[in-house]
């Protein structure tokens, strides 16, 4: 029995962490934020080469055939780095493509594994499609609101500019007749996968913001001492640590439920997105309060982590939406419907 990721998964994630520290440091993030395209040149290829993009793709398509539990620590790292790359969207799309099989899978999955394609997905309660402006292929509701795979060229995109320049959002409409209808997919499973993947990124963001805050509180002096020596600061940061610590196993369990297709999968996935969102938002609020003025500036890195937290807490279902989803599974199950 094991709740923590396996040793090899952790080792793999450690490698990715080093990679990102190298090619996607805050300086690189700033460049991407100011860049119209918004991505960090080369990183996508790097992720492919290290095997991140193919990790959960079936071996027959050139992937490693692993499940979400192996990818989880990597997703935490992409969150920790506030990485502006469509990892989650692409992973979810790959899972759906592998389910649908056939020519689509034959054509696109190897490209995804090789880092030659970006795919965006629009699932769940939302209408805004994350990563759409970057996508070569989109898996979105078609003209008749049935899920389809459609090339970037065959959709109309309306950019939805987010305060978080590290993501690219758009409203997507598929012109009549365009796109290949996708049948027989486990859409809810795909959504839960995405929700848990985003929850893992939120955990990474929360840990990163706690680390930044602890570092700053140890350096910044007021009233002749480091502000980290004041209980007012200590106790806020302790509460962030507690929230992060108790969200982590909830996210890990959800990854297991998704990987196993457990009967409690949807409840566990929603619990994970809810808990990780609350933890990350608390970490963001506290980090800003601890950094005070300097944290409120665009010059300081914190705002990029804070805004990523805002975006990821709004996409793939809000905390309230997921809490209600848990309520329905937990409280209304017994009810006559």
């Amino acid at each position: 029995m094991r709740l923590a990721p396996d040793a090899d998964a952790l080792e793999f994630a450690a490698g990715v962490r080093e990679l990102l520290a190298d090619v996607a440091d805050p300086a690189a993030l700033r460049v991407a934020w100011d860049d119209p395209d918004g991505r960090i040149p080369g990183v996508w290829k790097h992720l492919a080469e290290t095997g991140v993009l193919g990790l959960t793709v079936p071996e027959e398509y050139g992937g490693a055939g692993a499940d979400l539990t192996s990818l989880l620590p990597v997703l935490v790292e992409t969150g920790r780095a506030a990485l502006p790359e469509p990892v989650v969207e692409t992973i979810v799309a790959a899972t759906l493509l592998a389910q649908s099989g056939g020519e689509l899978a034959e054509e696109w999955l190897p490209k995804i594994v090789a880092g030659d394609a970006t795919v965006a997905t629009g699932l769940g309660p939302g209408r805004v499609v994350s990563a759409a402006p970057w996508a070569d292929l989109l898996i979105v509701p078609d003209h008749a609101d049935l899920l389809c795979a459609v090339a970037r060229a065959d959709v109309d995109l309306v950019d939805e500019v987010s305060v978080d320049r590290g993501v690219r959002l758009a409203s997507v409409s598929v012109s009549e007749g365009a796109g290949v209808a996708l049948g027989g997919l486990d859409l809810e499973g795909g959504f839960d996968l995405g929700a848990v993947a985003v929850a893992a990124q939120l955990l990474g963001l929360a840990e990163a913001m706690l680390d930044m805050s602890v570092r700053y509180a140890g350096q910044r002096e007021q009233f002749g001492v480091a502000i980290g020596s004041f209980q007012a600061i200590k106790h806020q940061l302790a509460d962030v640590f507690v929230a992060n610590s108790f969200a982590a196993p909830v996210v890990a369990r959800a990854a297991w439920s998704v990987a196993q297709g457990a009967p409690t999968r949807t409840r566990d996935a929603s619990h994970a997105k809810h808990a990780a969102t609350l933890a990350a938002r608390r970490a963001a609020r506290t980090a800003l309060q601890v950094h005070a003025g300097i944290g409120y500036t665009f010059e300081h890195d914190l705002h990029m982590w804070m805004k990523r937290t805002w975006t990821l807490s709004s996409l793939w279902g809000t905390a309230a939406w997921h809490r209600e989803r848990v309520s329905q599974a937990l409280l209304d199950a017994s009810r006559p419907t």
Partner: protein, 384 residues
């Protein structure tokens, strides 16, 4: 007890409402923190000043209406309910002007008040320094005595409006041997003066909402000393503990935001009932808190009118409104769902701006941690 609004206040209120209805720009002005927006907000202030609505609490001779606190509260409620622009001259008219009225010479009043009211001269405050934030008394920028005045050197930061403002008021260490609250002098000087370098700082939303101001041997004549030399701390603090401390955050602003939150709830209830239902309790809590803030400030104003001391209120006040403002906007954020972070969204955009602005509340004008210390030590009398 009597909560019926006095007739003269009610009359003042409806006159203000009338004027605002016919003059408030129908489309929101561009951001205050852009050059164009700053200019547009100056224009609005001028229009208000000409109609004598810019500084209603000031004496008529300086462009006001000699309005009392109750009239002022009524005006603020009407102003924000009308969706009028934020006040570009806020630092001047709410922070500096009360100090000038209390400590300024006749010459200073004549020289500074009218241009401030017309926003011909927009003021930035120069309190914080890189090493002096919450611990304001540790500031080190100095004013050296020279013939006929002072020469300033040092650095100020977090100077709101600093990027585009014309003048600055601030505290400087005029007695080099002094420490902490002693030996400080309150000085006024133009940001165009020789030796002044303004470096705008981009805030959360990417706009230069405040600035660092570097001072290299900047001359300030004696005429621009506000209050006594070495009296700076007393002069600066007096306004925050007088009833004017109230005018920093008017209830009208939060009440208007809470009412908009109720409108957002109603709209969301139509488009996404589940999202509205999930936010229902938070919406009503936020509205009740805004209402409580309105009542609390009214009660404080009425006490002030009775001549009772109200120093203690200002810290509790700041803790409450800054928490309330975040609460209102967090609730809106949650209801807006996936659109919450979309800057250009006609509904979500303004809420996002408001959210970012609200997050500064618990930080500036004394962090909430400092305010809790003040309440605990000065109000409750707990040991330091």
């Amino acid at each position: 007890m009597d909560l019926t609004e006095p007739a003269e206040v009610a009359a003042f209120r409806s006159e203000a409402r009338e004027w605002l209805r016919s003059h408030v720009p129908s489309t929101p002005l561009p951001s205050l923190d852009t050059e164009a927006g700053f200019a547009a907000h100056r224009e609005w202030e001028r229009e208000m000043f000409e109609a004598r609505w810019a500084v209603v609490t000031w004496p008529a001779e300086y462009g006001g209406r000699d309005a009392g606190l109750l009239e002022w509260l009524a005006f603020e409620e009407e102003y924000w309910a009308a969706g009028a622009p934020v006040r570009v001259s806020q630092n001047g008219i709410f922070l500096l002007a009360p100090t000038i009225f209390e400590f300024g010479t006749k010459e200073q009043k004549d020289r500074f008040l009218a241009p401030m009211g017309r926003a011909d001269e927009v003021w930035a405050q120069g309190w914080s320094e890189p090493g002096a934030g919450s611990d304001l008394a540790s500031l080190r920028s100095k004013a050296d005595r020279v013939d006929g005045g002072w020469r300033l050197s040092g650095q100020k930061t977090w100077s709101t409006r600093g990027a585009y403002a014309d003048w600055m008021f601030g505290l400087f260490r005029s007695d080099p041997s002094s420490e902490r609250h002693r030996g400080l002098t309150y000085l006024l000087f133009p940001l165009s003066a020789d030796g002044v370098t303004v470096r705008p700082i981009r805030q959360l939303d990417g706009e230069p909402g405040f600035a660092e101001v570097f001072l290299d041997d900047v001359f300030v004549p004696d005429d621009n000393v506000l209050g006594g030399v070495g009296e700076g701390w007393k002069v600066a603090m007096s306004t925050t503990t007088s009833e004017r401390g109230l005018t920093l955050r008017s209830p009208g602003r939060f009440m208007a935001a809470a009412d908009r939150l109720v409108d957002l709830y109603t709209a969301t209830d139509g488009s996404d009932p589940a999202a509205a239902a999930a936010a229902r309790d938070d919406v009503v809590q936020a509205w009740m808190d805004a209402d409580a803030y309105r009542l609390y400030v009214l009660g404080t104003a009425l006490k002030a009118i009775d001549g009772l001391p109200i120093g203690a209120e200002s810290s509790a006040n700041k803790l409450f409104w800054s928490t309330l403002d975040v609460e209102i906007h967090e609730t809106a954020f949650a209801m807006l769902g996936e659109r919450a972070t979309l800057e250009a969204d006609p509904v979500a955009g303004p809420w996002l701006d408001g959210y970012e602005f609200s997050l500064a509340g618990p930080i500036y004008a004394g962090t909430n941690e400092v305010q809790r210390n003040v309440v605990a030590e000065r109000v409750l009398g707990l040991p330091r």
